[in-house]
């Protein structure tokens, strides 16, 4: 197998993972495609050392996450500002204002299957809630690390993630009691 063929196989093996990371963080297909391309261009430059590395998946995810966060901070600096407004106000009414109405998910998202529905609900979250939620759930970052990466306070990370989960619960009409009995 030539180097070009090896890289093509490498690309096909990891493109979904890189694209998912970028797509969930940016919630924008064209931006996610650009970021994925940039990640693999960088991987190509270091392919000789990456192709046999056992941590190549982690490397790709880290680069995709970093590029996505750079992209968000560069082009969408407003999202943290808008989120900050709600945090600074501190009252529950302001927090409630961010939650979407408890509508019927089928009505909102049409005939999608469950995964598409959850994915769409996740991408519909405001960036201030979606980004920390994705970093925590999909990238496995701790709250402190998220706060450091996003340059926001730990309290704000907790509040944003809570709001994101609460918004998802409403959108997806999750039943907490049943979930609790399942995990106990």
């Amino acid at each position: 197998m030539t180097d070009a063929q090896q890289f093509e196989a490498f690309l096909h093996n990891y493109q979904n993972m890189v694209y998912s990371t970028a797509m969930r963080l940016t919630a924008n297909q064209s931006e996610a495609e650009d970021i994925t391309q940039e990640v693999f261009l960088r991987a190509y430059e270091r392919f000789a050392e990456l192709q046999h590395s056992p941590t190549v998946g982690g490397w790709l995810k880290t680069v995709a996450t970093n590029l996505s966060l750079n992209h968000l901070s560069r082009y969408r600096s407003r999202w943290s500002f808008f989120s900050e407004l709600f945090v600074s106000s501190g009252d529950e009414e302001a927090a409630e204002a961010q939650f979407p109405a408890a509508d019927d998910p089928r009505e909102t998202f049409g005939d999608m299957d469950r995964r598409e529905l959850v994915e769409a609900a996740l991408q519909a979250l405001p960036p201030a809630q979606r980004v920390p939620l994705v970093l925590h759930h999909f990238e496995g970052l701790r709250y402190e690390e998220i706060a450091r990466r996003l340059r926001i306070s730990l309290g704000k990370v907790k509040i944003d993630i809570f709001r994101g989960r609460e918004a998802l619960r409403r959108k997806l009409q999750l039943r907490l009691k049943e979930e609790t009995s399942d995990i106990l």
Partner: protein, 154 residues
């Protein structure tokens, strides 16, 4: 926030998110990435490159034009200095009326004296000034051409 409620909420959301798996990249994305890797980037048009990379004929024409503009600017500056020196010397009322006038008169006199008897320091400073103005003109010309052609081509 109720810690028990938070735990229940986290568990419910985690279950949904864990079931998601990876998103499928668009089918055309891999081809696009491979093309970007294997195809060299298209070269920039000459007018978007630095002046030294312009075609030879264009560089000659731009140099000639720039030289004419530069000589015109130098001549205009010389005329301005001479004219100002002559005006400040002949208009004695200005020197008598204000301190500023006296300072200006002395400054203009110094400039005229220096121009009449240039020393090595003056020659060096003049050469430096000419070089700076020249490179600034060259930079401005490149930027101007780039701006005009970008507007025209868009």
């Amino acid at each position: 926030m109720d810690p028990q409620y938070e735990k229940q909420l986290e568990a419910a959301v985690r279950r949904e998110l864990d079931a998601l798996g990876e998103l499928a990249a668009p089918p055309e994305l891999a081809g696009r990435i491979l093309r970007a890797i294997h195809q060299p980037a298209a070269p920039l048009p000459w007018w978007r490159q630095s002046w030294v990379a312009w075609p030879g004929a264009l560089r000659l024409v731009s140099l000639a034009g720039l030289f004419a503009v530069f000589c015109g600017l130098c001549y205009a500056a010389l005329l301005l200095v001479q004219g100002f020196a002559g005006w400040s010397q002949s208009s004695g009322w200005l020197a008598q009326m204000t301190t500023l006038g006296r300072v200006t008169e002395r400054l203009a006199g110094t400039v005229v004296a220096v121009l009449g008897h240039p020393g090595p320091g003056f020659m060096f400073a003049a050469a430096l000034l000419i070089f700076t103005v020249w490179t600034a003109c060259l930079g401005l010309l490149t930027a101007y051409v780039r701006l005009v052609l970008r507007t025209v081509t868009n």
